[in-house]
Symmetry: C2
């Protein structure tokens, strides 16, 4: 604590990301990265953009990339915003659409960054309790509110909410912005992007970090009615004119062009997830039904913090959240088949 | 205006950056970019970092780069923060150190993003009036305040405030954070970084966009007492865990290693600035004494908006600010010798 910190800063409880250790080589199943590299076309495009032109600022409006993303989703450029990772977009969206006195709604078990955004921007919130199976009761979002944010699939459970129910939530809340955080949508769920023409209050946020293997490049995007996009744009232009580097712009464009590569890596991760889930169930694990690139697991015989610690000793990083209702669980990212075979082998032995 | 915008968003008047046109080739003297490319070592380092590892998140603490910068300035890693351009650092600093009810101080003629930050974070401010020569009267900063921010050299005037006077301002304000925005310090001024050990309230913000030719990469950094750095870090970790890409981390480290290249491009820009200033004076221009990579000029015979428009028609972009006290001026970035020769030739003919 310092006398120089603002009141806002003093009251913060910052988000803690999963570790990115430098001390030794781990099997990293803790931050939901993609085990497969990005398309070679993406790396080529970045290297090409790494030229003397890097002395020049990037296009602050990111027009070319926004046009590419718009074409990909059959939208207009004015319905697309791009930023420095989807977390930045979430922060901008909290600023753009939520007011302090009007409590927003999100699930009680969810991405743990949401309450942090609420705190830093002084936004009140109420949580909607998930049921015992971690399903989202949509009726919980039919109460008065100043905004709604739901990850689909949810984090850290991986549970998917039928896209038709997203439409119901958007329809029931014509006065509030409904943000669907689709960071994990490409691993088996259906995107709500198809409803953008129907609902002026629906904002979809996606990222290149997971399904397109570009966590290290930093690129997220938002899709929605152009009034919403303009709102985020006003905030961004009052915060940082140039949030996306020339290299990120170049790499991201190419990521939307190599569709075959995208489909193939996605397919492999889904297959691995299903196989690993079955193996874990056969070992007695409870495995929450996942449509993400991670699984949420718990074992009746061994406490999760113990498993977490022992896995770490064996060189395998997973994530444990010491929070109500989920402290018995571990979140395990889906790695390559080789990595998951080691994981299954090690965790099997730890149960004995 | 949309019913979905927060009150904050509705009241914003976003910053407008200089244009980055795509329609034709211009001589770009409008956004203070460096006319020389970055060191070849920097481009090599980025290309090397553009590997399959880009699927992995960057180090959220940017430890390696912070160690490199700390060594460069003879500081500790804990006294260094890095972010996605210095504008992002300014935004984080407004959040970290300034409170709504306690007005902050900055010059009346200054970087026009400061009032925008004040607006988005709901911070009151008072301006300190520059004298007729655009000099900063330091006594203006000896009044009660909730924080101080001064660019040195100032923007868009280019005028440098003696570093000893910065120390006086820091000493007179032990209860407030004094932010010195040194985006242009490398072009002839002396950095206040040497006072960091003396003043716990002094925060220096610098960037790789200007003197290190990396505007397209997005990298800024803050130097100060570790309590201040911790404060910015709390804000960043409540906003976006991973603000700096793997490519920016790699390129930035290398930029601090190629010192010879840095000194040489800096020297060339300073030489060009002095030569161009003399030529313009001989044409009857008033040229504000600059220690930046731009000059602030005005001509008694031709109105600035007219010059701005005619230069643009001739393929030369400069910047004009339609604001009180400076609407008679143009801000002209220092380009290469060849570019500036064209500029001098064209502007000379426009005066006839």
């Amino acid at each position: 604590m310092s006398i120089y910190w603002s009141e806002r800063t003093r009251n913060l409880e910052p988000y803690v990301p999963g570790e990115q250790p430098r001390d030794r080589k781990y099997i990293k199943l803790n931050t939901n990265e993609n085990p497969y590299p990005p398309s070679p076309m993406v790396l080529d495009a970045i290297r090409k953009a790494c030229s003397e032109d890097i002395r020049i600022y990037p296009d602050p409006d990111c027009d070319s990339l926004r046009e590419t993303i718009a074409r990909y989703y059959n939208l207009k450029k004015e319905q697309v915003f791009v930023g420095n990772g989807s977390d930045e977009l979430l922060a901008f969206s909290f600023m753009a659409f939520f007011d302090p006195c009007n409590p927003i709604l999100f699930p009680d078990i969810t991405y743990s960054f949401y309450p942090v955004y609420a705190s830093i921007f002084n936004i009140n919130y109420k949580v909607v309790e998930l049921d015992e199976e971690f399903s989202i009761p949509v009726e919980g979002f039919f109460q008065e509110n100043g905004g709604i944010i739901i990850p689909n699939p949810n984090a850290p459970t991986g549970k998917y909410l039928d896209v038709g129910l997203i439409a119901r939530i958007a329809r029931k809340n014509p006065g509030s912005v409904v943000i669907i955080d689709e960071a994990y949508i490409d691993f088996g769920g259906e995107s709500a992007v198809k409803y953008i023409g129907d609902f002026k209050n629906l904002l979809i946020i996606q990222t290149l970090s997971k399904s397109r293997s570009l966590a290290g490049l930093r690129l997220g995007y938002a899709l929605g009615h152009e009034d919403l996009i303009q709102g985020i744009n006003r905030v961004k232009n009052s915060f940082n004119s140039y949030t996306v580097s020339r290299l990120a712009l170049a790499g991201a464009e190419e990521a939307f062009r190599d569709e075959d590569y995208f489909r193939e890596t996605r397919r492999r991760i889904i297959e691995t997830r299903e196989r690993v889930s079955l193996s874990l169930k056969s070992m007695g694990f409870k495995v929450v039904d996942s449509k993400a690139n991670f699984i949420f697991i718990s074992h009746p015989g061994v406490k999760s913090p113990v498993l977490f610690k022992r896995l770490r000793e064996k060189g395998i990083l997973v994530r444990h959240f010491d929070k109500p209702r989920i402290s018995d669980y571990l979140r395990v990212s889906i790695g390559s088949d080789e990595e998951m075979d080691v994981f299954l082998d090690v965790i099997g032995k730890l149960l004995v």
